[in-house]
């Protein structure tokens, strides 16, 4: 009988939405689920996870785990998996999650698949789908190992918005001692109050054709509560920080609305945004490949279109 362990992470002071989506997925699949929550202040979120269906909530609330995310987190997750008896471990397919999943799998000789869009559980059989080759193909994979580690994209299932917190069955897990051969010395955050690319409902993305408009685009993003993304050349030109690169080797985003400004539409960029619900492209070249994936295309100059967006888009944002 299958059992899921959801690896929940914190977004600022709250448990992440994808963890709640994963619990909703477990319920929908008729599979019991436990959760593990790691990080400072994790204990305060246990009742929320229980309210969303976690039978047991493993907690590692210790600043030691901040010391080195992958090395110590994977050990904590393996310990929780042992105690829970879960055979399916779900992790958010963030940059951290995609590095963590194979570390966990490597420790317990489990199979691992990163970046899955769907998961199907049928008795002991687990199959997943994911995009590969810069999203040009989709592959369907099957696990042969007893324990399966899966990192999943946002939107695995609709989270239960009406769920109320409930007293959790809490189990504490001690953090391993920091490993001097593997030490996180410093964490550098870019100073921004803006919503993170991964969580944003709207992303405004800057291409080489909009490099002169970076200030205005930042302003637009602030006006409408959007995150800013960019193509690789714009990052290389130093106009936007590294962690905002969207594409095959950058971030993969799936907001409700993705606005591509002056972006040609290379497959290496499209690979990072094709899963957006709605794509708007602004490009002065009607032949630009970005229009092939756009729901709405504006053939025009960014310099002319941007002021209109700044004036009028904001009227629709609550």
């Amino acid at each position: 009988m299958a059992k899921i362990l959801v690896v929940a992470d914190m977004e600022k002071d709250n448990v992440s939405k994808s963890a709640l989506e994963q619990l909703a997925f477990a319920k929908k699949s008729g599979v019991p689920a436990d959760a593990i929550l790691i990080g400072k202040g994790a204990g305060s979120q246990a009742d929320i996870l229980a309210g969303h269906g976690a039978e047991k909530v493993f907690i590692c609330d210790n600043s030691n785990v901040e010391n080195f995310l992958n090395a110590s987190w994977s050990a904590v997750i393996v310990e929780a998996q042992k105690q829970s008896g879960a055979d399916i471990i779900l992790i958010k397919a963030s940059e951290l999650g995609k590095a963590l999943a194979p570390k966990v799998a490597g420790k317990i000789n489990a199979g691992v698949v990163n970046d899955c869009s769907t998961v199907a559980i049928d008795g002991d059989a687990v199959t997943v789908t994911r995009l590969s080759m810069a999203t040009k193909v989709q592959e369907i994979l099957r696990f042969k190992s007893p324990v399966k580690v899966i990192s999943v994209k946002p939107g695995l299932a609709e989270m239960d918005a009406g769920a109320r917190p409930k007293a959790a069955v809490k189990i504490d897990i001690a953090a391993p001692a920091p490993d001097p051969k593997n030490m996180l010395k410093e964490t550098v955050f870019k100073k921004t109050q803006r919503v993170d690319l991964g969580d944003a409902k709207i992303v405004v993305s800057i291409g080489r054709g909009a490099e002169k408009n970076v200030d205005d685009i930042n302003r637009l993003a602030d006006l409408i509560g959007a995150a800013v993304g960019a193509t690789r050349p714009v990052i290389e030109d130093g106009l936007v920080p590294y962690n905002l690169q969207v594409g095959q080797t950058g971030r993969k985003v799936s907001p409700d609305l993705y606005i591509a400004l002056g972006i040609s539409g290379s497959i290496l960029h499209i690979a990072g945004m094709i899963k957006s619900k709605c794509i708007v492209a602004v490009n002065r070249n009607p032949q630009a490949p970005i229009f092939a994936v756009a729901d709405y295309g504006i053939v025009g100059d960014v310099n002319a279109v941007l002021p209109v967006l700044m004036n009028n888009l904001v009227k629709y944002i609550k």
Binding site: A99, K144, L257, L268
Partner: protein, 262 residues
Amino acid sequence: MNIVVFIKQTVDVEQKIRVKENGKILEKGLGYVISACDECAIEEAVRIKEKNRDASVTLVCMGPTSAKKTIRRGLSLGADKAIHLLNGAYNSNDATANARIFASVLKTIPFDIVFLGKQAQDTDMQATAEILSEMLGLPMASNCVKVDIRADKAVVHRQADRHLELIELGKPCVISVNNDINNPRYPSLKSILTARIKPVVSKKPTDFGLGEDEIGRAGSLIERIKYETPQARAAGKIFEGDAAEITNKVIELLATEARVIG
């Protein structure tokens, strides 16, 4: 100092890729390249070598006979020698089987630093470097955008989702690199020519002590059922004309038709 770089030859994802009715990729006519992050890993290793006279860079490439091209390319970037793991029938490894083979190779050659690309450009999976580090019990960092090798440790910058992490790894260690870490050089004619005479030894994945059931399909924990062509996005509405007019039209449609704002 010995640096080992694992490299992969992958299908060039910028070309048209078709899925056949039997769920396999139509391979006829496909072009192959060195996986982008792997090329950056070689470049990074060569830059370290250029700063450390005693350093040597060994490439390990698992792939068919045709992967020779990728190996020569890597050597022309400045690596010293290479091991070609001819996978032959064992060409359906998952990340675990790959890592197991790489770990067995590393038990037979000296190394201080192991580099891999963050992800292969064909699978986009990202798992081999992490599993390899677990199998060897070595410190590792994923997705690095800066590497600084000191006497007793490696200081790396790892790109996370919202932040950068400065991590110190004791040597020996495993480092996976993002393609943003550097811009690989264009090899000169001279380096292309000297690459031809650099030593390349051909080996089989079973030459390092592993049994046949530990590699290939038998040794893999993941099996591909098939490939599919992803669902194409529905054709969009493309507007030309007065910028203000068409922009306002699109804003209206975002609210009334797509319902993603308002």
